[in-house]
């Protein structure tokens, strides 16, 4: 299978890569670009561990072909902190212990950031529905919802 050259912007940096036509964006990020923050849980769009933004909207990178991203803007968990300064969601997730094993955390942070950009003051129910496609088998979700609320309040005040 002939590889195709793709030019994209990832976390603000112009990026070129070669990939096979049937290779997922998730595999491109992890195996070709060394961006291993996005995780493969199911590979079929059910678990959300591979969440990234594609042209500003949160998607499962396992359900996007690498070749589809020609000219696109991609955002991954690696671009969330500002240098050494964590994004408020990242810092509050640590402070509130909103994670245990951490596999789902990058996807949840990317998805939660996308929610707060559209809706800075969500209800608990809105957070739960928004994150319904991000599965977590450790926390029972309550601490995740609380952490998103605490971060949202801080970001509204900032």
């Amino acid at each position: 299978m002939k590889n195709i050259q793709v030019e994209t912007t990832i976390n603000g940096d112009a990026t070129e890569f070669l990939c096979a036509p049937d290779e997922s964006l998730l595999d491109v990020l992890r195996d070709r670009l060394g961006l291993t923050g996005a995780k493969e849980g199911c590979g079929t769009g059910d678990c959300g561990a591979c969440s990234v933004t594609l042209n500003g909207e949160v998607v499962c990178s396992c359900l996007v072909l690498g070749v589809e991203t020609q000219g696109a803007e991609i955002g991954t968990i690696e671009g969330m902190a500002n240098g050494e300064t964590l994004h408020p969601l990242q810092r509050v997730f640590i402070e509130e212990a909103a994670l245990q094993c951490g596999i789902c955390t990058p996807g949840i942070l990317v998805a939660a950031k996308s929610l707060l950009e559209k809706n800075p003051d969500p209800t608990d129910t809105e957070i739960r529905y928004w994150l319904a496609g991000n599965l977590c088998r450790c926390t029972g979700y309550d601490k995740i919802i609380k952490a998103v609320q605490v971060a949202a309040a801080e970001m509204r005040g900032a």
Binding site: M1, I4, D22, G45, S51, E57, L63, A111, G133
Partner: protein, 287 residues
């Protein structure tokens, strides 16, 4: 697998027609990439159509809306005028998958995949939605309800694909609604479902009604008797009971681990009743 982004609909239709092996169309990718991953299908050709004119657009047309075949369902939910005119169509489309999936998945893909449980299809059927097909022999418009022919099957000819779905104009007092039963609150496949679209006169009497049911037959079904049962009524109990009976009579579901024949049949009737009341209130009726 070859991946191609043709520069016109005609070029896409020719490519698809001339492909000797297995060809797939890539729009939202939320079905086709899962099948690829599961090795249920190994296409020789993948044709990406998302970049072509109109595919990502929601455009007002003759009082209704034309929705490009690559418009993700989440964009429909963000379109206030579309939500106001066809709330049931939008709520059906927005029940498909997670936030992540809704940012990619499309109604056209949901329709072509041909699932009897497709959440966006019943309300499109009750809306009288029309799909615009482009193929090697040109363009044709086909009612949405005629597209799926059975589980995983559709009427599209080789080389043919959907470019848009048209939702017609609405009178002043009109409303629609879609409900499904799932054993949880989100991220599941309908065990049964129902959509109702109706139009009222100034007195709140139903003058036109469509009822469609999902996941209770090989395809989504428009139940003409059910719509007729509530025309001329204000959704009084007798009229609604007749509608429910017509819905139940139209069900021919399968028995499986997700629901028995009896359960699917009963819930389809209950959902039709509830959807009719929601549509009635959305149309401005007092209940």
């Amino acid at each position: 697998m070859k991946y191609v982004k043709p520069d016109s609909f005609d070029a896409a239709a020719q490519l698809l027609r001339d492909e000797q092996g297995i060809a797939r169309i890539l729009s939202g990718g939320t079905d086709v990439l899962v099948m690829l991953k599961a090795e249920m299908v190994e296409p020789d050709l993948m044709v990406d159509l998302k970049h072509l004119p109109g595919m990502q657009d929601i455009v007002a047309e003759n009082g209704g809306f034309r929705i490009g075949a690559a418009v993700p369902t989440a964009r429909m939910g963000e379109h206030a005028a579309l939500v106001a005119m066809w709330p049931g169509v939008v709520e059906g489309a927005e029940l498909i998958g997670s936030t992540q999936v809704q940012n990619r998945a499309t109604m056209a893909g949901n329709l072509c995949t041909g699932s009897p449980a497709a959440d966006s299809v019943p309300a499109m059927v009750t809306a009288g939605a029309v799909a615009r097909l482009h193929g090697p022999d040109g363009v044709r418009d086909v009612p949405v309800g005629d597209i799926p022919t059975g589980p995983g099957k559709n009427i599209l000819a080789k080389g043919e694909f959907i470019t848009s779905i048209y939702l017609p104009a609405r009178p002043e007092r009109a409303g629609d609604a879609y409900l499904r039963f799932i054993p949880r609150t989100e991220m599941d496949i309908a065990v049964s479902s129902a959509a109702v679209s109706l139009v009222l006169d100034d007195a709140g009497v139903v003058t036109d009604a469509n009822v469609a049911i999902g996941a209770v037959a090989p395809t989504v079904r428009l139940v003409a008797d059910a719509g007729a049962a509530i025309i001329g009524s204000k959704l009084d109990d007798d009229a609604v009971a007749k509608m429910v009976a017509a819905v139940e009579a139209a069900c021919s579901p399968i028995n499986d681990k997700r629901g028995t024949i009896a359960f699917r049949t009963t819930t389809a009737g209950v959902l039709a009743k509830r959807a009719a009341h929601i549509a009635y209130i959305r149309a401005g009726g007092q209940s």
